[in-house]
Amino acid sequence: MTETSSNLFIRLDPQDNVVVARTKVEPGIFVATEGVTTQQEVPAGHKIAARVLQKGDPILKYKTVIGYAKEETKPGTWMHSHNIEFQDVIKDYRWGEDFRPVNLIEPLERATFEGIVREDGRVATRNYIGIFVVAHSSATVARKIASWFDANRLSNYPQIDGVVPFVHDQGSGTERSGEALALLHRTLGGYIEHPNIAASLIIGQDIDRADIRAFLDSQNIVIGDTVGALSVSASGGTKKAIEAGIDIIQNMLVNANRAQRQRVSAEHIKIGLQCGGSDGFSGLSANPALGVAMDILVRNGGTAVLSETSEIYGVEHTLTSRAATPNIGKKLVERINWWLDYNKGRDTQINGRVSPGNNAGGLANVLEKSLGGAKKGGNSPLMEVYQYAERINTHGLVFMDTPGYDPVSVTGQIAGGANLICFTTGRGSCFGSVPAPTIKLASNTPMYRRMSADMDINCGVVIDGDATLEKMGQEIFERILQHASGTPTCSEAIGVGLNEFVPWPIGTTD
């Protein structure tokens, strides 16, 4: 038996009956602080039993039930999906009973950043021209118009961050009415109205523009100086439409280039919160540190948008109890019930089984994933619950119902008005988003080093013992202000984000 430092395992709460390995731990290692010996090899981020577990005992991590012991288990046993049973847990929703209003910082004392103030007062963090398609059939036209405007052709317009195609697979095979079409329309509308979009071009195929008009009418968007429309058929085909589109955009450049940054309050920052490729560390470093940053943002009057409904499943009672009204809490539970019904009988994560990467990273099931995931929202009261892509007009911590799938979730958040995305990851992510940029936060130092060109912030220092969550959270907040002011994020520097616009395909495809 080898005796070694207590540093190998992290205890998250005195009541927990599992502890988390900081690094890979060999079998037969004595863990002094817990008084147990590892029974098997334990991968980094995975858990061991800290005491004897009887069959059916609740497994407690962060003092929260993440499942039940499948069998009688010796202390020091590696605890994972093979011996943790996934079951419904009983939740006490405490509708709004723990609500405490936010202690807002005085307006003049709030943090500031360099933003672009639009005529109507909305504040942008970037300045793009967007090319949109009402249906997939115009995707090539949109991409070819956008790729015409390369760095060289935009060199005289330094205030424009780019001309970007927002193409998608829907519209042609989508249901002709109902939620599927409404969702697509409000997603496109949300992008066109996004403060980071200086001007837009909307492309359709119909010779009479009926397809474009149906979309514009649904969103009350009017064609004008900053919104152009283009029919491929009326232009005389693909090639001529591309040429016509280039002309339209060319005429928008001078005005779009007039955008200037000025110092504004951090209350204009709306952060879409994401996690992807989570591991056992995500819930210990990146997510809670981001939560600290969101609490600071909310005190400064800003907005934090928590989403990924299936990834808060199991800990929703921690949100309903601090909802501003019981009704807001109930809206959240309604959405979760919708998801349980929608996913009935399917092999999706809300039914327990998380992605292979999550599982390899030490997350036994969706409850454990949610426990870590929800921490990125911080501890502010829940002010509102929104539908996918619905415009967000409340400040503070809000929830938007989206799938857990990152590109779809972020697309909904940006359509809702998010002007920055903060994305935590344990396994490593290569995500990027436009027109609201993504800041990526690593949960552990080895992955941060391995993927340093993709990772903006290393929260692994919390695991390494080199920073507290409070210090890390403050640092994240400072970085948010910098990136909101125009400093490129890693994904912007690499040029990632043009393929991550994915409106939620909620309906059937015919």
Binding site: H136, T140, Y342, E500
Partner: protein, 444 residues
Amino acid sequence: MLDMHRYSVYTFLIDVSADYFYAHDTKTKINITTTQFNMSVISCNSSATFEGFVREDGRVGTRNYVGVFVAGNCAATSARKIADWFNAERLKNYPNVDGVVPFVHEIGCGMEMTGEPMDLLRRTLSGFIRHPNMAAAIVLALGCERNNIYSFMEQEALTTGPMLHTLVMQELGGTVNTINAGIAAIESMLPAANDVVRQTVSAKHLSVGVLCAGDDALAARAASPALGVAIDTLVRQGGTGILTATSSIAPMAQSLAARAESSDIKQKLEQRIQWWDKYTQNRDTRYNHQKHRANVDHAFMNTLEQNARRAGTTPLKGVYEYAKPIIDPGLAFMDAPSFDAVSATGQIASGANMICLATGSGSSFGSLPAPAIKLAATSELFESMEDDFDIDCGLAETGMLDIDHLGQLIFESILDHASGKKTKSEIIGIGENEFVPWPIGAFA
């Protein structure tokens, strides 16, 4: 001219129309002596041929591409950047390689990990990777997708080798490293990919996916029936035609089923229609709309029937689920949505090496690695979008050609394009965005 005897009249008219759509940009310079239409291929008795790439396993390609695939959307940007690197300048030493193409899609994660939605995605990807038009491929993954790349390779019995590499971004250390590794992998594949020559092969190696919106009244007049004549000719030559778009076939399923070669095939068709009844239940879909309208509107039903003729009149040799490999030559029905990109993706995954799309309205469609030939239903449409359309089916309405001869011209055109002649959509550069595996499942 009116004095010419019948055969000469046809020869002349075919010459003119051949010029008309093969040399659209010089159509004012039509010269009856320049293009001699090859009557021999029209004959059912002789065997038609084209110039194709014969692969090691005997399958025949019509194009020669290198593909960049993704297990999930997380690798899409890297895939596009790798493919973009190989521009015309960097491929100039590899003239036999038609291009390096990104086949990216919106799914692969946030979906059901097992079951039909994942199986469908996997067989679509592997159908493209194995496609005879694909000389080599790389497959990218972030690493933590629900569509795990290693279990994908195993399930589809794909083995990595000199012409098939996998790259995992979390293992390689991120976006930039992956892009560099992907470029290097493809560079190593290009000499062998380029080492191909076309040779004369039987038209039986052609598998043509046919597309047309079922309710397209203009296409129903001449384009669909003429395309059907071409497919009948192809089938007689031992080739394959693939009919899709279940929503427009369902209302006339009985007449298609009557052509089924066996009761098994008939039953399979009925099963697919039952599946659609459930899939689209209470939804405002094309399927429900067309089913309802066909019941009450005789003219509409007639349009659907005419457009179903796009696949010809031969016996139904098989009914396939989306993206499943076509086993028996002849006419096959594959269950797929009417959405052209999703339909063509399924047809190509099943082995189609040419696509024919007939339409009475504008279309910016194109497909890769199997190119799309586009048929304009009317001369007015053909003229208004002449950069997009390959064939003017309006010729059959002017009295210049009958449906049968238009069909033979289409068949001839399929052979020409299969032999390497670029289609209009290839010239414009359409097809990279039209790879859309059917998103059939629930997102999570």
